[in-house]
């Protein structure tokens, strides 16, 4: 089954899971997705460059998606409850993503997680992937 990103250009699996963002060389602000310019009102001069990041981070909070969300959400049927997380990466960015975890009971705010690329849903004989956070 062909493995394709749910949306192109947001992440890569080559050389390890990475989110494809930007970083401003002047003020250090990290953006995800990529930004054409630095939006910090305190930044003197926008100097944007590509910036990939991943690895480990800390789970700031999580929530459980107890009901099947309406379109344009996509998920495999039958619906299985999943979790969402907000993770602080040492690169200086807080990111939303789905959690990769077997037992939702194990979720814990403050725990260490790792960025992974995993299947999100299947459609038209394709496996659509996205970034997720795996609790370590």
């Amino acid at each position: 089954m062909e493995r394709v990103p749910a949306v192109e250009g947001l992440f890569t699996e080559e050389g390890g899971a990475k989110l494809l963002g930007s970083k401003c060389a002047t003020c250090g602000t990290v953006y995800f997705p990529k930004s054409a310019s630095c939006h910090s009102p305190k930044c003197d001069e926008s100097k944007i460059g590509d910036f990939g990041f991943g690895g480990k981070g800390t789970l700031w909070s999580y929530s459980i998606q107890d009901f099947p969300p309406p379109p344009p959400h996509k998920f495999d049927k039958p619906y299985e409850i999943y979790a969402l997380g907000v993770v602080d990466f040492p690169a200086g960015v807080r990111v939303m993503g789905q959690m990769s975890i077997d037992n939702l009971e194990d979720l814990k705010v403050g725990s260490e997680v790792e960025l992974v690329i995993e299947p999100l849903y299947h459609e038209d004989d394709k496996e659509f992937t996205s970034w997720k956070f795996k609790q370590l």
Binding site: Y31, P33, Q65, D66, P69, P72, H73
Partner: protein, 397 residues
Amino acid sequence: MQEVKVLGVGLHAFGKTGDAVVGNKPVTELCRKAVVDALKDAGVQWKDIQAVSAASSRFSGGKGWGLNGNDIVEEMGSTGIPVYNLSAGCAAGGNAFNIGYTLVASGQYDMVLVMGGEVMPKGFIQTSGVEEVTDPEFLRQRCVGMPGPSFWSLLARRRMHEYGTTEEQFAQVAVKARKCSVHNPYARFQKAITVEDVLASPYVSNPLRLFEICPVSNGAAATVICSAERAKQFSGNAVTVASSTVATMTFDDGLPRGLAAPPPADATLHSEAKLAVTKAFDQAGIGPEDLSLTELQDNTVYYELAFPEEWGICKPGEAESLVAAGETTPTGKMPINPSGGFVSFGEATTAMGVFQVCEMAWQLRGESGGRQVPNAKVALSQTLGLGGNATAVILKK
């Protein structure tokens, strides 16, 4: 800037499409009722209105272009007056009130109508209607799988981590809200419930349950505001607008509105709301300690705990114990949402900021019956909407 008064208010009771209250009434019919009531309450006629500031709906009416103020002008009679239609997501009603306030305060007009009303589509509010990869909300839906209520439960879960808040404590807030709503004939839900009832309702997004999250409702709200000078000609029921503010989120806000955000240096999570409320305090020369009551945007019970702390109305981590002690009820030390709040009304997006003004006026006039805050003198309201919009209003007797 001249002083502005709230001269009259009116609501159409909130309900769900098809029920006995709103049935299948189109939005203009809901709005007409609220406007007619507000005019009557003010003791003025339609032809006395010099301008209209309306919350602009994405969901209903407005000729598909958000022209909801024009709809009401045609309905009541086209007198040629200026119409302003304001979009600010769920903050639109508060935004429209602020423009109405500015039109009067500036001396341009001395009698202005502010209104908002909605017939909502079914289901929880989708915060974006756009399916484009340039829209961060769409990316959150497609790549993360995150609808609105999950956003709220992230916040609730974080609070549990920081302050040890329990599910029972969240449930107590809903119980308090519904206790107020029993005395509000305009509320969609008017039955008292118990902590057990709340905990028996299904999770929408753990830890938040069905009874702890506001559904969508149909409803409408209107208010007639005027200059203090003009108000002298009327019966004397008018209350004073101490301040009205609008703000947007700041760059250092710690809550990712799209897929990501810089982690904040401090704990600011709803910077737009804090900014609007803080400016409202400053401009009114009124402090949190002066408030008789607060009507805040409780899309979920979490906000009734977090917002008073973020705005300095109580101390961080103190809200749960205040709720448990009954201090957030109308007869407590820190009354929150005596109307019953969004959890009892459901959300008719554009109506909400105006609905809050109606409740505050009734409270300050001592006309709130079984939900009356005794001797209410100063009231604060606040809204929060998509795009990082927030508004606040302080009314005083």
